[in-house]
C-alpha cells in the first residue's frame, strides 16, 4: 500500500519509543510503547514455557507484572484462559458480579490493585499457542475499534519477537519486511510437512523452519515454498548436526 498502513504507524511508535530510550526494539520496549500509545495503564506479555503454564516475559509496569503473577498464584485469570487456547478476552468493566463469578480469586485482587478493564489477545500461529498480550486499564470502558485494531498490531509484533527469541533469531534491526510472509499459506503448509518429516510437534517445526530461513538469509516464504514443492526436506540427523 502506498499510504501509511496501521502496521507502519504502530511500527513507527515502537521504533520511536526504543530510540528515545536509546535501546534496540525489544519486548520490553514494545510493551512500554503500547502502554504509552493506547488508553491503558500497563501491558504485559506472558508465554507458556515447557510444562509451566505461564511465564511473564515482560511487563511495562509494576501493575501488569503483579497481575500476571497473581494469575499464576491463584491459577485463574484472563491470561491463563488465553494461554490454554481460549479466544481473546475483552473485559470493559472488571469490577462487577459477572467477572467476579468468572474469576473469584483473580478479580477482587486485580480490582484492589487498581485494574478496571483488561484486554487479553492471544499470540497464536494456527494451533501454536505462543503467548498472550494483555493490556490493563485503570478505568472502565472497552477499547474503541481503532485502538483495539492497533492493540492487535502491537500483539502481532510481540508475537514475532517471542517467536524470534524461541527460534534463536536476533532482534530485527529495521522494519521486519518479511513479517508479512509469516501468514502466507505455504509457510503453514510447510510447517505441517516439516513436523511429519522431523517427527516433532508443530511449534517445534515452525521454529526450525524460521531458524533455517534466518540462517540462510532467505525469506521464510521462499524456503517454505521449496518444502511444499518437495524440493527440500528437513532431515532429523542433518538438522541435529546443524544444531538449530
Amino acid at each position: 500500500m502506498t499510504e501509511a498502513t496501521r502496521a507502519d504507524r504502530v511500527w513507527g511508535v515502537v521504533t520511536a519509543h526504543a530510540e528515545a530510550l536509546g535501546v534496540p526494539v525489544s519486548l520490553r520496549s514494545l510493551c512500554q510503547a503500547a502502554a504509552a500509545r493506547l488508553p491503558v495503564s500497563a501491558v504485559a506479555v506472558s508465554i507458556r514455557s515447557g510444562r509451566v503454564v505461564s511465564e511473564v516475559l515482560c511487563a511495562s509496569g509494576s501493575l501488569s507484572r503483579e497481575l500476571e503473577e497473581l494469575q499464576l498464584t491463584v491459577g485463574e485469570g484472563p491470561s491463563l484462559q488465553v494461554l490454554v487456547g481460549g479466544p481473546s478476552v475483552l473485559v470493559g468493566d472488571l469490577d462487577c458480579a459477572e467477572q467476579q463469578a468468572r474469576w473469584p480469586l483473580f478479580v477482587p485482587a486485580a480490582v484492589q490493585a487498581g485494574a478496571r478493564a483488561l484486554f487479553a489477545l492471544p499470540l497464536r500461529v494456527g494451533v501454536i499457542r505462543v503467548g498472550v498480550f494483555i493490556l490493563y486499564a485503570d478505568h472502565p470502558g472497552q477499547l474503541p475499534a481503532e485502538e483495539l485494531a492497533e492493540a492487535w498490531v502491537f500483539a502481532e509484533f510481540a508475537r514475532r519477537l517471542v517467536l524470534d527469541e524461541q527460534a534463536g533469531i536476533g532482534t530485527p534491526e529495521g522494519y521486519p519486511v518479511d513479517w508479512l510472509s509469516d501468514s502466507r499459506p505455504e509457510v503453514h503448509q510447510a510447517t505441517g510437512m516439516i513436523s511429519v518429516q522431523l517427527g516433532v510437534g508443530i511449534a517445534e517445526a515452525f521454529s526450525r523452519l524460521r531458524a533455517r530461513a534466518f540462517t540462510e538469509g532467505r525469506p521464510l516464504s521462499t524456503v517454505a515454498a521449496e518444502v511444499v514443492a518437495r524440493r527440500r526436506r528437513f532431515d532429523p540427523d542433518h538438522t541435529a548436526r546443524e544444531g538449530v
Binding site: 479466544p87 494456527g126 508479512l180 499459506p185 516439516i194
Partner: protein
Amino acid sequence: MADDRLTRTFVELADTLVAGFDVVEFLHMLVDRCMELLAVSAAGLLLGDSHDQLQVMASSAENIHLLELFQLQNHDGPCLDCYLTGEPISHPDLSVAADRWPMFAPAATESGFRTVHAVPMRLRSQVIGALNLFHTEANALAPEVTQIGQALADVATIGLIQERALHHQHVLVDQLQTALDSRVIIEQAKGIIAERHGIDPGAAFTLMRVYARTHGQRLTEFAAAVIDGSTTTTKFFPSAPAATPGE
C-alpha cells in the same frame, strides 16, 4: 443463469449459518458456488487483517500462481483498490492494464486471466475484504454477474460476523482475527496430511473437507485434531499411500 439454482444456493448458504458452523468451510463453499453460478475461471475471497493486509481466506484452487495473484494485490490490483475505496472494481482486459496495476496486471495476464472483478465485503461503513473473480476471456463479466457476486460477498460478510456475533458484538477486528487464525490451522493440517500421504496440499484439503462433511465435524476442529495427533488420518484416508518415514 437459472434462477432456481441461484435461489437454491442462497438457501443452502443460509442453512449453513447455524450455530457452530465452520467459517473456513463456509467461505470455501461460497467460492465454489461463485465458480458454478457465475461461470468464472477462478475466484478467491480475501480478508483484511489488523494491519490492513489482504489475506486469502478461500480460493477456488490451490494453484500457487493463483495464490500469488491474490497476495500480489497487497502492492497493487483490483482487490486493493476495492478494499481501499469500498467500491467494486473491474477491468475487461488485463493485457492492457499494466499502467494501472504494474505488478498485478502482467502477472495475471501471464497466468492466463483477462477479465478481473473485485467486489467489496462491506459491513456498514467498514470494508473487511473483497471477493475476487477472474475470467480467462476478455470482456467476460456481465452486469448481472457482478450483482450476484455482490450478493455472494454480502453473504460471506454475514457469515464472518455471525460466527462470533453472540459473544463479541462490538469487535469486528477480533472476529476477523479469529477467522484468519482458523485458516492457518487448516494450512498446518494440510501440510501434515500432504506429507503423511504423499499428496499435494490441494488434494489434502479436498480429503479434509470430505471427511469433515461426511462425519459432521467442523473443518477447523478436524484440522486441530489432525495436528495434535488425536486423529490418525491413515484410518480415514485408507486409499492414500502412506508416506514412508523420512530418512
